[in-house]
Symmetry: C2
Subunit: 509 residues, 2 copies
């Protein structure tokens, strides 16, 4: 099986198969790295409850304020400030499930969030998109669709946790309808409606029910949507996000509450302070999901990083980021909540910096036992740009992680003393029976890494990893096959989108 080709030419369907690991659910069998001891975790826990009780959170949604006042929170209507009694927070958060399944249109793509499960999701929400051929450009629907096709083609990506790029060429008011239709038809995986209003969530719910041929009651029992709600740190939850969060929770769909706590800017300059604030904001949002609908699936999101104190520029994949990602996992486990982290970097192109900052993030996410790694493939420039080349380089890195998470098999066959006896001192294992029986699939075969010697690699064009990635994503897109969908269902989806677009137009007129 030829792995890759390096000559510059137009990739075509029918090229030799691209070596990928099969799609599978991943579990982290190793103990997480703990960067905080139990005393420190309890201090941060108690301090964040102090913050919620005494400082409170500003929530810019009347409906959320109503719900929280009824639940017993102290609500200041004038300012929108909500102060949460610590018992209310802890009792609410305790109702969230520790583990749940999200159901895809294709049941083989169902995913589990919680415990030691780990899921990788492509980049979410960048306003720009880039590749080596066409350069950096604003997000658009054609690239949105190609990134979905690429995500669908990469087996190591478990579900979509956001728009892979924002299609700014589509009208704002109806953009989500086209995006949801693309998610449902170009992929067969769990996907992400935007929690920017109740309406956008309602459309997502209607469309997934059509796609799966189920009603809302069954969707509530077998959730299939997941959305990320960012707090507007410090200590504020915007109205559309709060409304979207409540709409999702009411329908029993999964909400990831992720405070945007960049240390030194939106949170204290000290990591302990940033983590305390992250913890308070995350708990407040998750408490709201449970007050709305006890038992609704919710995820603790950690995104604490730091800024460059000289320029204010956000930084990712820093040592502060890695420690915060690991600490975030400890905090989420403190409450028995599933955990979300990210594969982030601040590089402006796909170079060594992009790779080492990504790795620093990824190790924090994986060894922090994140159940959902958002932005796992394709994120560049601190999230401002989706990169086609980074998408496939990240996929190779994620496959390496998946293999790293496969325990070493230790038994008489693998210890292989007989093979050592066969080969003897100074011999070679290439031709021995033990090797011949196992050489296929013995080791991870990369999609991007080039291990040929310098001379061979030079003669074949001396391509960088990023140039090889350019060839690979084009081959993957050329090979892409849409997952099958019942034509009647697609008709119904199209009819729904058309009807809703008309309604929006009428409303605007």
């Amino acid at each position: 099986m030829a792995r890759r080709r390096h000559r510059e030419r137009r990739p075509q369907r029918g090229d030799a198969e691209i070596a990928q690991l099969p799609w599978r659910r991943l579990v982290n069998p190793y103990r997480p790295i703990e960067v905080l001891d139990e005393v420190a975790i309890e201090r941060i826990h108690l301090a964040s409850l102090d913050v919620l009780e005494n400082l409170g959170i500003e929530i810019l949604s009347e409906r959320a304020l109503d719900v929280l006042a009824t639940a017993g929170a102290e609500v200041d209507r004038a300012s929108g400030r909500v102060r949460f009694d610590r018992a209310l927070v802890m009792e609410s958060v305790a109702k969230a499930p520790g583990e749940f399944t999200l159901h895809a249109r294709n049941p083989e793509r169902d995913v589990v969030l919680g415990g030691n499960h780990i899921n990788f999701c492509p980049v979410g929400s960048p306003p720009n998109v880039t590749d080596l051929d066409r350069g950096r450009r604003p997000g658009n629907f054609a690239d949105f669709c190609d990134l979905l096709r690429l995500g669908q083609s990469l087996n190591v990506l478990h579900f979509f946790g956001g728009y892979p790029v924002e299609p700014v060429d589509l009208p704002t008011a109806t953009r989500h309808l086209d995006c949801y239709h693309a998610f449902i038809t170009l992929t067969d995986r769990v996907w992400h409606p935007y929690a920017l209003s109740r309406e956008r969530i309602e459309d997502g719910i209607e469309m997934i029910c059509i796609a799966r041929g189920i009603d809302r009651a069954r969707l509530a029992r077998e959730p299939g949507l997941i959305t990320v709600v960012n707090t507007n740190s410090p200590l504020r939850l915007d109205g559309p996000m709060a409304d979207g969060l409540m709409a999702m929770a009411e329908a029993g769909q999964a909400v990831v509450v992720t405070p945007f706590t960049l240390s030194g800017a939106m949170s204290p300059v000290t990591l302990a302070g940033a983590l305390t604030q992250q913890n308070g904001e995350a708990l407040a949002g998750i408490a709201l999901t449970q007050i709305v609908n006890p038992g609704a699936p919710a995820i603790y999101g950690g995104f604490t990083s730091n800024v460059d104190m000289k320029t204010g520029a956000p930084a990712f994949g820093t040592p502060e980021y890695t420690r915060a990602a690991l600490a975030g996992g400890q905090l989420a486990r403190r409450y028995g909540l599933p955990y979300r982290s990210s594969n982030a970097n601040a590089a402006n192109l796909v170079d060594a910096q992009a790779a080492y900052e990504s790795q620093m993030s990824l190790w924090g996410a994986v060894m922090g036992h994140a159940n959902m790694v958002l932005h796992a493939a394709g994120w560049l420039e601190g999230g401002l740009t989706a990169s086609f080349e980074k998408m496939v380089i990240d996929a190779d890195m994620l496959q390496m992680m998946a293999e790293f998470l496969t325990p070493i098999e230790v038994n008489d066959e693998t210890i292989a003393i007989e093979a050592m006896r066969d080969v003897g001192p100074g011999g070679h294992f290439f031709g021995t029976a033990h090797t011949l029986a196992r050489y296929e699939g013995a080791f991870y075969a990369p999609m991007i890494s080039d291990w040929r010697n310098f001379e061979t690699w030079s003669e074949d064009g001396a391509l960088t990893a990023t140039q090889r990635a350019n060839t690979l994503w084009k081959r993957l897109l050329a090979d892409y096959q849409p997952p099958p969908i019942d034509p009647g269902i697609d008709e119904a989806l199209k009819a729904y989108v058309a009807r809703r677009k008309e309604q929006v137009a009428t409303k605007a007129a």
Copy 2:
């Protein structure tokens, strides 16, 4: 403090200071990642004792065979095969110290090996050298000296664990004399004589005694030399290496025994087999050091990686490599021995592949609690080439690791509830008193990473991390100051080198 400059120009002394962390000893405060359970560790342990007892190791040194026969090993003189009774192995290995100090010419650069200490060493032994300006070329003494200067300039590098490049322009028989003199005068750190014969080790011992103004008895009490002995896997120890190992052990200097167990080539295609063979070979070498001189400092070296089974090309920084590095740490700790691992990759240039493979290696080394990370900076092409740009990019990655290993401080000051109260919902922490008191040094300031936005970065030349690294190493070399040395000592060293060169010439004539 300006961090870096991107304009192309000749770097000059007097440029703004380069932001580096100070030189300091590092300790890993986190629990190591364990990829094997205790049962698996014991199986590998027992299997490797089986290998030593039943298959044995070929040792191509008469003197080593004498010593081992006297100690009670079963020696076959015709084949050089040595079979070790398991009690002999375990009793010998138990005599090696679990932790020891290596003494540098400058006592501030003394290093501790063992426990949770971690030390980073530049690349050792590549035959080639490369940089963006001059391209790839055979190793030579001018580059050897520049790489020493660069290593000396980088605070995160603790000592030299090998020649940073092989100076093939110097005559083989006396090359080591020039190299040792360069180590002693261009750096003030612990360094590495080549264990390729007893003579080369003896020269190293004489020269370090002159450099430190001490005698051999004191050198034995306060060791300052460290050498790496690779077994010629499978199951063979070459003569010059065995003789060098014994010369080092006799003098009480540190020996790192590192089997070269590339899975699928020099060891079984299964990781458990490769680790069993690694363990057997490492224990045999370490047993020999202790039989020669009980209590001599010795280090368990792990270098298990895999080859590409399609081409036979060695691969590094693979998921197999990472797991083997972590398992190697578990095995070393099983015997209470200090552990050595590496920062390796198989890329042909300093691109994303070089960075992500390095990170995969580095996480294995760091979280495997390696006490010595060889090749930590500058390794490229599976060790065939030393790269000036990789040297400083790695140094940035190592500094990130050093910061990652610094625990998060959690107390009332760092939790900073008052700062959150000051700032309030929707506010900004840039100007608050808590930030102003701490912003300097709050976060890691990188040497290579560029966090400026896309537009600013583009206007400033759109340089890659590797291009920025090119500027940085030239600035570091321009700023380099040799560490002070007593002129009388340098005279004595020069005289020693001259005398020995004459002796070698006479002997050759």
